[in-house]
């Protein structure tokens, strides 16, 4: 995708195309994409001129949304869903089980940005949710995202015990980048407690 679209354009398109029917104000978009409002304004004008985005003026605010009538919309939507839509898709698929899930995040190559076309989506869930229910809820995403989804479910106590015992897998996961579906880094650290740094004597 980096080859096809400049970074800012990718973020704007992902934010708007993945929420068709939803319109965003320039400042909201700047915050979401971490870009400068001036640069972003020019980008949005170009995309609106090309017909990919719709502009609507509400009072003194200009809002932008995806133009779902554009002939390329279905193809662009599918492309962005596969590259930028992993977390929203996982959140939606796991929604029916949310009450039994305390924390959920994507780890591995997709989270660290080193994914190839064959990389699986590695998902770690902390909670009391049934593994079989998770596997069946996530199965439809294989086709949607064009990737296999590989979930693991850890009970909170099990994960805390492993972290305390200095388990190499848990340490590795704690340290590496994550894409959050539910919860936050802070909550995970609280659960895992403190663990000795790598190389420290146990």
């Amino acid at each position: 995708m980096n080859l096809l679209f400049p970074a800012h354009r990718q973020q704007v398109l992902a934010a708007l195309l993945l929420q068709p029917g939803h319109s965003l104000h320039l400042r909201e978009l700047a915050r979401l994409t971490g870009s400068h409002a001036g640069t972003l304004g020019r980008e949005l004008s170009k995309l609106a001129q090309a017909g990919l985005l719709l502009r609507s003026d509400q009072g003194n605010q200009t809002r932008y949304s995806a133009n779902v009538q554009h002939p390329l919309f279905p193809e662009l939507f599918a492309m962005f869903r596969k590259t930028h839509g992993v977390v929203p898709a996982l959140r939606t698929a796991l929604e029916p089980l949310a009450a039994q899930i305390a924390l959920a995040f994507v780890y591995g190559s997709l989270a660290s940005g080193s994914a190839t076309q064959h990389s699986d989506v590695d998902v770690l869930l902390v909670g009391s949710v049934d593994f079989v229910a998770v596997v069946q809820a996530l199965y439809p995403l294989h086709e949607l995202l064009g990737r296999e989804v590989n979930p693991v479910v850890w009970a909170p106590q099990e994960l805390a015990d492993k972290a305390r015992a200095g388990d190499a897998f848990v340490r590795d996961v704690l340290r590496k980048p994550k894409l959050w579906i539910k919860g936050s880094e802070h909550e995970l650290e609280q659960l895992a407690g403190h663990w000795p740094p790598t190389g420290a004597a146990a």
Binding site: D120, V129, F131, V132, A155
Partner: protein, 148 residues
């Protein structure tokens, strides 16, 4: 993919059913499930034993239908598990879980990821269910082999 298409791409080979060979594999599957219930060993090895039982049932499904996987081809576990709906009539939702367990086995075996209690529980339940299903299928479809 259909079994004959899998044969066309070299994933499967035809092989007439051999009841004594199947009896041996069935015995191994039972032993592996029993071993998987031993609580004194790690979750990882218990999972491995339960997964072996699943794989052996999947192979039995192919053998009983006159097929075998080509060991010269990669992915013979995948082929055996993903054809269970065609060989033993395993329902699709169960097949999805068995295939997820196959991927867990790969990250456990080749990357050292530990097996969570929830994964072990699911693997034990799935192995037990599939072995029971395999025995009932063999009894119903091929009582003449006297395997059950």
């Amino acid at each position: 993919m259909s079994l004959s298409n899998l044969q066309a791409i070299g994933r499967l080979q035809a092989q007439p059913p051999d009841p004594p060979a199947m009896a041996k594999l069935l015995q191994a599957a039972r032993q592996n499930l029993a071993d998987a219930r031993v609580e004194q060993i790690s979750a990882s090895n218990r999972f491995d034993a339960a997964y072996k039982c699943i794989m052996q049932c999947a192979m039995l499904g192919l053998w009983a239908n006159g097929w075998r996987t080509s060991t010269s081809q990669p992915g013979h576990h995948q082929t055996a598990i993903q054809t269970l709906d065609q060989t033993l009539g395993v329902p699709k939702p169960d097949l999805i879980v068995l295939d997820a367990l196959r991927r867990q086995r790969n990250v456990n075996d080749y990357e050292g990821d530990p097996i969570a209690d929830a994964t072990l529980r699911a693997c034990l339940q799935s192995a037990d269910k599939l072995l029971g299903h395999t025995l009932r299928w063999l009894q119903a479809q091929h009582p003449e082999w006297g395997l059950v």
